[in-house]
């Protein structure tokens, strides 16, 4: 039953799992074509297994994994909504998957139209002028956006703007991307309401500031109520506003980053637009920009010329390319499919329901858990296991116990500004019954943490492995299998 072997340990000499056409051209003698030092001395030791072996091995592995179709997955900040099956079907059509990025563009007008329309639709949703689909994920969108900020200031010969401000509640990619784009990162604290501390912001705003990165609603699930003020302040001092759109699922059709004053925004298609996350990727992180920043967008930009779509590379102010070609095209197809499925009303209902669901769960847990910023939240909220910590039960313990109850745990220990944080994002695709079941489980755990904490210490028990030793893994890393 339990089979711990890797695929390498299932290898049997001379067994095959492939089936290839026989070559029908003359065989070249590789030793006479290439000089000996180029030729590999020892064949790479790949497994020698049958197709049955492979299918059984990876099927068995899949059975040790939890997907959205397996159950509730309230992983905060990740928007683990249900992924409509039709999107997968559409993206897997030969007419999309078998297209080469460099083929004559007249023979790829369907692909270009997909991208052109996505540019338009995302611009509308974000309230931006144009969108680049090139970034492969949110973090790469941030990088592109920050490079645009840099290019913008440089184009105005404003070289002293070396700082990017990020709130202490921001996602780690924000400062990391800022650093990668060559900025100095300035953290500012949140106020007692969990929002940007206007005073703190005031203090750091000067003519060395290139911009501010903000997630709105922020990672506490709270809408930055002072956003217009913030935007006014940043702009007044000459900086730009970057919108981390990981939380767009809260505001589609309700409010737009462009209208809030943001100059640049990315969206994570693998979150808000329901493209599946694939166990870690691929995603897509398109960025939208205001009119003023369009010249700085990555190349190519898709334009319509007469009846044809063309790629415009001739953009002197562009930051260049941050990735090969045009982005994660298949992911973009899925997101387009999703947008067309929902339509404008549907997208608004998505956000409304996502926010309703989050508030419902929050309300039903507020008497048993500490909720640091307990007011109407957006699509997610953060609770703290601090009360439970008094009985030595951590957020991690609660998470692992949820696994045994059939739920994927929420995000834990993020954002950093909440102790023992559990960030809960139910999404709109969950039914009230599922929410009630989760609420029931959480309340039961809270009860046990009070009455019988030791019962919570050994979870998970119903999983393929029990709690894993992370310290050991990091101390003496074993990163590949060896004989």
């Amino acid at each position: 039953m339990r089979d711990e072997r890797t695929i390498f340990e299932k290898s049997v000499e001379n067994r095959i799992g492939y089936s290839l056409p026989e070559s029908d051209v003359p065989k070249a003698d590789i030793h006479s074509v290439f000089t000996e030092n180029l030729i590999r001395k020892e064949c790479p030791q790949l497994p020698e297994v049958s197709e049955t072996d492979v299918i059984r091995h990876y099927t068995a592995l899949s059975q040790r994994n939890f997907g959205v179709d397996s159950g509730f997955y309230p992983l905060g900040s990740c928007t683990m909504k249900y992924n409509p099956k039709i999107n997968e079907d559409i993206a897997s059509l030969n007419g999309f998957t078998q297209m080469h990025p460099l083929q004559d563009l007249q023979s790829a007008q369907g692909c270009l139209e997909v991208m052109y329309r996505m540019d338009k639709y995302l611009s509308e949703i974000l309230g931006m002028e144009r969108v680049s689909l090139q970034p492969a994920a949110g973090a790469q969108g941030e990088l592109a956006g920050l490079m645009i900020i840099k290019a913008y200031h440089e184009s105005r010969n404003d070289k002293k703007r070396v700082k990017i401000i990020v709130p202490d509640s921001s996602h780690g990619t924000n400062p990391a991307s800022a650093a990668l784009a060559g900025f100095e990162v300035v953290h500012i604290r949140s106020d007692e309401r969990g929002c940007v501390d206007i005073k703190a912001l005031e203090e750091v705003l000067d003519d060395t500031v290139a911009g501010l990165m903000l997630t709105n609603p922020n990672t506490l699930g709270l809408f930055e109520e002072d956003i217009l003020k913030i935007s006014e302040m940043v702009h007044r001092c000459g900086g730009l506003l970057y919108y981390d759109g990981a939380n767009m699922n809260a505001v589609m059709g309700i409010a737009r980053p462009g209208d809030m004053g943001f100059d640049i925004a990315h969206v994570n298609l693998h979150k808000t637009f329901s493209t599946p996350h694939g166990g870690g990727g691929p995603g897509a992180g398109p960025i939208g920009v205001s009119k003023e920043l369009v010249p700085f967008l990555p190349v190519p930009v898709i334009e319509k010329k007469g009846d044809s779509y063309v790629l415009d590379y001739d953009r002197p102010l562009s930051i260049g390319s941050i990735k090969s070609f045009y982005g994660n095209f298949s992911v973009i197809v899925k997101a387009l499919s999703y947008i067309l499925t929902m339509g404008p009303r549907g997208l608004k209902t998505v956000s409304e329901t996502a926010v309703l669901n989050a508030n419902y769960v929050r309300k039903k847990l507020e008497d048993v858990f500490e909720i640091p910023y307990n007011r109407i939240c957006m699509h997610e909220f953060v609770l703290s296991a601090s009360r439970q910590a008094e009985n030595d039960i951590t957020a991690l313990d609660l998470a692992k116990n949820l696994i045994d109850k059939g739920f994927h745990p929420p995000t834990v220990y993020f954002p950093l500004i909440v102790k023992e944080a559990m960030m809960i994002e139910p999404t709109e695709t969950e039914s009230p019954e599922t929410l009630d079941a989760f609420i029931g489980a959480m309340r039961e755990l809270a009860e046990l943490a009070k009455e019988n904490p030791e019962l919570l210490k050994n979870a998970p028990k119903n999983t393929y492995v029990t709690r894993l030793d992370e310290v050991k893994a990091a101390r003496n890393p074993v990163l590949k299998w060896s004989r």
């Binding site: 390498f8 290839l20 290439f34 492969a136 589609m252 737009r256 990727g281 696994i403 009230p432």
Partner: protein
Amino acid sequence: MKSPYIPATSEQREAMLKTLNLSSIDELFSAIPDKLKLKEDLKLPGPYSEYELKKEFQSLIRKNSDAASNTCFLGAGVYDHIIPSAVNHIIGRQEFYTSYTPYQAEISQGVLQAMFEYQTMIAELTGMDASNASVYDGASALYEAVLLAARYNNRSEVVVARSVNPEYRKTLSSVLRYSGITVREVGFNIDNDFGGTLDMSELSEAISENTAAVVVQSPNFFGILEDIKSVSEKAKEKRALLICVCDPISLAVFEAPGSLGADIAVGEAQPLGIPMSFGGPLLGYFAVKKPFIRRMPGRVVGQTTDTEGRRGYVLTLQAREQHIRREKATSNICTNQALCALAATVYLSLMGKRGLTEVASQCIDKSIYAYNTLLATDQVTEVFKSPFFREFVVKPKVSPDKLNKELLNDGIIGGYDLSGDYPELDGCWLVAVTEKRTKAEIDMFSEKVKRICQGGV
């Protein structure tokens, strides 16, 4: 709006609002300033029903000529290889494709073990000590590698062969623009016996005490094998790191960069069972020698044990990553290309060591056959003398652009026009021939090229 994807009914919504002591959905959004609230619907089409949606996309793909109904001789970094059916059956399992990054290891052993196996295979192919669990694509793998090198030895210049994929070089330049790292390019030989390989004497001149790394690709963008070993020696002389960009299929038959002195091996693993998909998603691989393990970007899976001492896997070395180190992280990457890495793992398992070698050999045999057949038409001429893998440069009598357009009418996706990236190779054509092409297809291709060049379309 009613949707099969939003289960709460209006009755249930009402009840939930009541629980919240609210009387309307609008009240949930009271934190949003009124003047920000949209007064009208977004200007978007839809909703489409599932069947209408399918028809809509069918009409879009009718405007595409794909490599399933046309014969593809285009490569230039993305290749049309055979993908075994079993790959999609595995990555289509919801447990894989609908899951998130494996933060909760105990219910993510499937993805974690698969990534561990992927890392093992990449390390084995490249001859390196460790691999991460993927980055976005070959281009981003390259810039991550250069950034690693520059930080490692605190130098501010990188020497890059012009025979490296131009897409990668463009991306590298863009990303380095604000990093304080400058790129110095090294040309390639044309008319001598080493035509198509990087110019070694130019390389020697270019490398200095300030060179963080030398970047070489083999097979290079022209399909030609570079002498990595010699490059490595030159780099080591100045204690610059060596970054090799290698095609993973070619590594079945060509010496691993790890055995030739590379410190970092990166590249595009799309050929390993991943469809071309108009250029994305691709799969960047990233492998290093021991000293650089804790400097790798992105996710890394490590083996450990559970409370009962059983083997298990976790995301590890997270102290490198942005969610912990923030601006001091080794990279900003968070979401990667996990499902593509899974596809590559399944592909490599199915192919095994014999299968991958067979694929590589057929690429060699068929591209040589195509090269000779094309030259035999007398309508294309040789450009470089060096031996190649899967891809070669020729110069046809009519311009590549015109040739490609004409070929398309005959159901052929022609080669890559080198004129744009390499003015010195104006009129040259980069043709890729994988194991997927048959003799008949190659003969037909040559025949068509001949006829078009002779003006007899």
